[in-house]
């Protein structure tokens, strides 16, 4: 971009949000050129921090006038390079819009601005004995707006669903600068198309979310946690199926493969058995009698499927220690090599063990270290590859391996991404899943929302 337009851009943005909320220094632009995704980097021309819907709309109008891209950004914790400004333009940061506007206990909804952190929302809800269930790993940092734009998941997906299941309404600034409101506080509302649903996972390509109305549920009375070791992941998978067929819907069903167990024990020393082939962490919430009964039944189901050891936590401390093992997986794996690549291919629950086996075969064929952990309840896997990117053709091998992993997921009836989003990272694999006709439809939808093509261009359907 030439410097005349640069100056005009800075001036235009300053008029909308105020000079102190625009950054054009190369240092700040460098910092906002990345998110939490390795290997992807862009360089925006400006970064701006609006404080209201009107300011967001003003920024969109400036971008329209100058024909520069806008990349909306929350906390920049996404793992698919969805907020990387690879075509330059404006990074529009929504963290100043972080107010909880209303906690409506009577209707069990929260109304908030997009920059509110997920944890802050959950804590506010908890203060009224309510639960905001989506709990992505980054919840202490991530913003609710970012969660909706990527349709973030979390550990409670099977029982409580994902972010999209909690969005009742939203206010959106379209690519034209027009502001629309869709949905609201109503559980039932069929007036018009379900644009709220369309915004979930739209990755900033259709509009900029400027306000959200979110559904809350009653907070469960208590919870319990346990673990089971198996020789084979397939046995753990069968145990999970048996549990569900017996009418129990656990809140937590997390698994670690042998590589992950070894990495966690090697680094965090939480007392895991490294002779096991798989670890299943299970949990239930609800009234205390139900929790106790369900925990016992899940334990029984694991034993019936040849679990080599089963333990149900007796105290809150013990529960915390078990969950610690799950939280330690990513950090433990990441310490094995300089670069960590975390993916989220997902398959139907019944194909989980098969998929993990496929990943193991692919990893050994390309001589890569890939540990797989994830959500056994909803089939959402996190194959995690740790590499030294400077080591010969490693990056090339990683690319081939993940291409095969995504193909295997599709073959088993799955998806290339369960909860991280497509972003730049998986864009090349999207058409393989959706097909040409659907890609063309997505492009037509995109151009209806954003005729000038300025909203996060080059991602999803643009």
């Amino acid at each position: 971009m030439d410097s005349a337009i640069d100056a005009e851009l800075a001036r235009g943005l300053s008029e909308v949000v105020g000079e102190s909320h625009v950054r054009t220094d190369v240092g700040a632009r460098t910092v906002f050129g990345t998110d939490a995704t390795p290997l992807h980097r862009g360089m925006p021309d400006a970064v701006c921090f609006p404080a209201s819907t009107e300011e967001v709309a003003g920024v969109v109008r400036v971008a329209n006038d100058l024909k520069v891209p806008i990349v909306p950004r929350g906390a920049g914790t996404n793992l698919s390079a969805g907020t990387v400004p690879h075509r330059g333009g404006i990074v529009l940061v929504l963290t100043r819009m972080d107010r909880l506007l209303e906690l409506d206990v009577a209707n069990m909804v929260a109304v908030c601005e997009p920059g509110l952190t997920t944890s802050a929302l959950a804590e506010a809800a908890a203060g009224e004995s309510l639960l905001y269930p989506p709990d992505p790993g980054s919840r202490t940092v991530s913003t609710v707006g970012g969660n909706v734009a990527t349709c973030a998941g979390g550990l409670r997906g099977l029982k409580y669903g994902v972010t999209r299941d909690y969005v009742l309404g939203c206010e959106v600034v379209l690519g034209t600068g027009e502001v629309i409101r869709c949905g609201g506080k109503l559980v039932k509302d069929v007036a018009g198309l379900d644009l709220v649903r369309l915004m979930c996972g739209s990755e900033g390509t259709l509009g900029i979310i400027s306000e959200l109305t979110l559904r809350l549920v009653p907070a469960p009375e208590g919870s319990g946690t346990g673990l089971a070791y198996f020789d084979h992941l397939a046995d753990a998978g069968q145990a999970v199926s048996d549990v569900l067929r017996n009418g129990i819907l656990p809140v937590t069903l997390e698994f670690l493969d042998a590589t992950c167990i070894e990495a966690v024990e090697g680094f965090a020393h939480v007392g895991l058995r490294t002779d096991a082939g798989a670890l299943l962490i299970f949990g239930q919430d609800g009234p205390s009698e139900t929790v106790a009964r369900d925990m016992e039944r899940i334990a029984d189901a694991c034993r019936a499927q040849r679990a080599i050891e089963v333990r149900v936590a007796g105290t809150a401390d013990e529960s915390a220690r078990i969950l610690e093992a799950r939280r330690a997986v990513l950090p433990s794996l990441s310490r094995l090599a300089p670069l960590t690549i975390l993916e989220d291919a997902t398959v139907p629950r019944s194909r989980l063990a098969e998929m993990v086996q496929r990943i193991e075969q692919i990893a050994s064929r390309y001589e890569l270290l890939i540990g797989t952990f994830g959500h056994a309840g909803d089939g959402n896997l996190h194959p995690t590859c740790v590499i030294d990117p400077h080591d010969g053709d490693t990056l090339e091998r990683v690319e081939h391996a993940f291409t095969e992993i995504f193909a295997a997921a599709l073959e088993l009836g799955g998806t290339i991404t369960g909860e991280h989003g497509v972003g730049l990272g998986k864009l090349a694999h999207l058409e393989g899943q959706l097909g040409a006709a659907q890609m063309a439809l997505l492009r037509r939808i995109k151009s209806a929302f954003d005729p000038a093509g300025i909203l996060n261009p080059g991602k999803l359907a643009s």
Binding site: G27, T30, R327, L330, P338
Partner: protein
């Protein structure tokens, strides 16, 4: 531009850019600005290392200096980034020539030779020479001049500690301010002056010495006393007492339960919401950036005003100085004292208590 070895590559590679450090960072809390967060600063460091940004880039220069160096980002980092070491390497590279803050010169000069450090405490009554079978008491550099009673009280609390005036600065000051090699050399030389276990009343020095000499050679006073089962005399009247953690003591050496446990033995402990976050003293920060230092402290002073404790305890001389200045400026009734001072007032046998001392407008120093 090409890759330059400013940073140890393994230290830079550790960061996975997850952003978990953002909520822990005081300068991010103040500005809500990504470049003023640990993740943002590591991005700047990477750009420097890869030659994408020049040394004199204004944002790079500003952020290297705006960072408090409190290392609150380290305990919350899932990937185990050694941010403190990266910052030392950054300032070692950045703070040379004209980019070095001019106020640093006299400070670092005053403490870079043993005789100069001794001169700082020449006319002050720090702990007197004695030999014992226990640890070697470190007298500190600026603590000798500013708070000489602290070493006297520490010596009273640890009767078997050896004291020798023949000791210099530990070099934490240098390591944190762009003279990394000298900072390490000073620590090694202090380690020779004080063989065996070193006992210090300064959390910041404890962390630096632990990093250079090894964790098992260094104990901060509260850590030592808690480990030795120190039991102070029960007071007639229990004061309400708050604590300001030493950032490096907590975030690098993992010592934070110990001072709380000791305070609880003699007083009603009040945990301030920001007890574990930086008070803005941050070594030389209060001198180099007084405005920002005050902005950081102001939030804490609000909390102190609201909780209204009788005392606030420091475990590091820099924090003590910072808190005293802030409390005086706001005219709050709370007094800031070192933990050695609190504990000696519950050790001596002349019947005085901190409550009496408070009425005198000062807290009584134990005989040293």
């Amino acid at each position: 531009m090409t890759e330059r070895p400013i940073f140890t590559p393994e230290l830079l590679d550790r960061c996975i850019s997850c952003g978990f450090c953002l909520p822990a960072c005081p300068t991010f809390a103040l500005t809500q600005s990504e470049p003023s967060s640990p993740r943002g600063r590591i991005n700047l460091m990477r750009a420097l290392q890869e030659g994408r940004l020049p040394d004199d880039d204004p944002t790079v220069v500003a952020e290297a200096s705006f960072c408090l160096g409190c290392r609150a980002c380290e305990p919350v980092c899932p990937a185990g980034v050694h941010y403190g070491e990266l910052l030392e390497e950054w300032r070692d590279h950045e703070w040379t020539g004209r980019r070095r803050p001019w106020k640093l010169g006299p400070l670092l000069l005053a403490t870079n030779r043993r005789w100069r450090v001794r001169a700082l405490g020449l006319f002050r009554r720090h702990a007197r020479r004695r030999s014992g079978s226990g640890p070697h008491l470190m007298l500190g550099c600026f603590e000798r001049a500013l708070f000489p009673h602290v070493s006297r009280q520490a010596a009273a609390l640890v009767p078997d500690a050896s004291v020798t005036p023949k000791q210099g600065c530990c070099g934490a000051l240098h390591a944190h301010n762009g003279e990394l090699e000298r900072g390490r050399a000073l620590a090694r030389s202090l380690g020779e002056d004080l063989p065996g276990m070193i006992l210090t009343t300064s959390g910041g020095c404890a962390a630096h010495m632990a990093a250079v000499l090894g964790r098992d050679r260094v104990r901060e006073l509260s850590e030592w006393l808690a480990g030795a089962g120190h039991t102070p005399r029960s007071p007639a009247r229990r004061l309400r007492v708050a604590l300001q953690d030493s950032c490096h003591l907590r975030n690098a050496n993992g010592v934070w339960r110990e001072p709380r446990a000791l305070i609880e033995q003699v007083a009603d402990y009040v945990e301030l919401p920001s007890a574990s976050t930086c008070c803005g003293a941050a070594g030389t920060y209060a001198l180099l950036r007084p405005g920002d230092s005050r902005r950081i402290l102001d939030r804490k002073l609000d909390e102190i005003a609201a909780a209204d404790p009788d005392l606030i305890i420091a475990v590091n001389p820099g924090c003590l100085r910072q808190l005293r200045q802030g409390l005086r400026r706001r005219r709050l009734r709370t007094q800031a004292i070192h933990i050695a001072e609190l504990l000696t007032s519950h050790q001596d046998n002349d019947g005085s208590s901190p409550a009496d001392a408070r009425q005198d407008g000062r807290v009584r120093a134990a005989p040293g």
